[in-house]
Subunit: 334 residues, 2 copies
């Protein structure tokens, strides 16, 4: 028996290529939101801006993973880049609430330890994903909301911004259009309707590092004309974000309400763990299930073997990953 | 074939007893929190108070179900009763935050429609469970937090209370003890520690009505000396509360952080749906999984066939259900 094992190990050593941190399989995928994203509505200039932004973010994350950085570090760094880019509805480019403020949500989860951090409804945090990670690393809590979360941020020296930082002209105009529509439609506050042309401007990232550890994170500015302290799926562990080394890492973007009710991210993991589905089959199944109750959007998923699944039921989803040869693949439409 | 089906139907009709709303199988179970609840620490008077309160709540819920009320109505009514009772850490009896305020969380889910409602960090709502239901019924959202949730409540005429309503002497003393411990231990705010003698004063209810519809709900005042707008598992759909007619209804109580990370309530459902476990096996599996990452607490679960599972890994859990003969069973210790 011992000889047989030794022989097997020797064979493995001879047949495997020499692997260092640079050559081990690392994987990463991102999304920048899903919705009615049609080529017919997109100017070539705008499309180029999105493609460049997605390429920049995914390339930066891949570089960190290749350098041996953890999947948690890569996820945080990539989402910070996307939060800082006004193109995406997260961080700087966040949409406006009904009151003309910005309320940001984010969450992050470590597949190795099943530790997680989340913040909801913060108004001055430049990078909510980093605050979510700080909640995970520096407190005994998983989720903090509103002013309490900001007070924690201040105590920990997290970078805070005046509210003007989050004011971009494009998002301000979107709010004005929504308010105008609401007024002309005579809609009452009691039943706020979601915009018909829906774009779920969330950003998210899933990563697998050289140690085989999975992580995922999600960040958003929520929905334009948001009222009543509404919380969507992005800061909810199990709905917008989930990671577990035993199965997969998931980040979602879509109708937050339907995604919460469907516990989307954890359902992908459960279908793999208990239902023995592949990550692609699990992702497709969950997106179809959400669709059956009326929800639209998508997920980016990455399993422990490095398989990536990008599944959505909308016209488009801003998304990118690094292929087996190390090249960025950027996709927008169906 | 048609004759065979007709014969089968006829046989079923003859062999089934006549069922009216009063005789159809309805089921209900509740919890009033879990933790280091030891008979040696409990005075006979205190034990009687808890037993009477649990008996009163479960009996009222069962009566509603027998009258043909929906499981949603029963869950809401039972939790309102427990919220109004200062014995339980929910509604009137809520514990105090570090700042000496009360921040209440609740959620409810309808297993038939998979609709859900949740509120987090509300300070003036007499019955957070009813506000959670109103979020579900009267808005397009699932979750609202803080002042936004209160503004929604005001617009909808939900009963609001001055903060003094929530001030009970017993909870105030608990906060003073925690603050004293914190001061003497020289602990810094950055790493708030949870009390060693842990009691998770959450209330929850699961119900099955005459139509075979499941529902669940959970309500809490959180943890004593809570800081930074911490949100626990109680208002998180998938963690503290989940209901699905295809599987089960679940309400959890325990270390909120571990319960969020474990997506406890949805995991029970997933183990039944994909793993084909019974509700008891699923509940026991999930409580053991939470325990392995360091979390303590419990769940009350009810499957579509009316089977009840009450599982916990603490010394005690306040709990009650109605047995097959219609009698209340009230349990406290292991």
């Amino acid at each position: 028996m011992h000889h047989a094992i030794l022989w097997s190990l020797t064979m493995i050593m001879f047949t495997m290529p020499h692997l260092d941190a640079q050559e081990k399989k690392v994987r990463i995928a991102i999304h920048g939101g899903a919705g009615t994203i049609l080529k017919s509505n997109m100017s070539p200039e705008m499309e180029k801006q999105y493609r460049d932004a997605l390429t920049g973010a995914i390339t930066a994350g891949y570089k960190l993973l290749r350098e041996g950085k953890s999947s948690m570090d890569a996820v945080e760094a990539v989402i910070r880049i996307m939060e800082d880019n006004p193109l995406f509805n997260a961080g700087k480019g966040s949409v406006f609430t009904h009151e003309g403020t910005n309320e940001l949500d984010a969450s992050i989860m470590d597949g190795r330890t099943l530790k997680a951090g989340a913040v909801a409804g913060v108004k001055h945090i430049k990078n909510p994903i980093s605050l979510a990670r700080m909640v995970m690393d520096q407190s005994q809590h998983v989720m903090m909301a509103g002013e309490g979360a900001e007070s924690f941020a201040r105590q920990h020296g997290v970078e805070m911004m005046p509210v003007e930082y989050f004011r971009t002209e494009r998002r301000w105009q979107q709010l004005q259009e929504e308010l105008e529509k609401e007024k002309s439609g005579g809609k009452i506050n009691a039943l706020p309707t979601l915009p018909i042309e829906k774009k779920f401007g969330t950003v998210g990232c899933v990563a697998l590092d050289v140690n085989g550890d999975l992580a995922s994170g999600t960040s958003t500015g929520g929905i334009t004309n948001k009222k009543f302290g509404r919380v969507g799926d992005s800061p909810i562990i199990g709905a917008g974000t989930y990671a577990n080394n035993a199965t997969c890492a998931v980040s979602a973007t879509g109708d937050g309400e339907y995604f919460i009710r469907s516990v989307v991210a954890h359902d992908v993991s459960s279908l793999m763990e208990y239902g023995k589905l592949s990550v692609q089959a699990a992702a497709d199944t969950v997106v179809a299930k959400v669709g059956r109750i009326g929800g639209t959007g998508g997920v980016v998923c990455l399993d422990k073997g490095g398989r990536i699944a990008l599944s959505f039921n909308t016209e488009g989803m801003y998304r990118a990953y690094i292929d087996e040869e190390g090249n960025p693949v950027v996709l927008i439409y169906k």
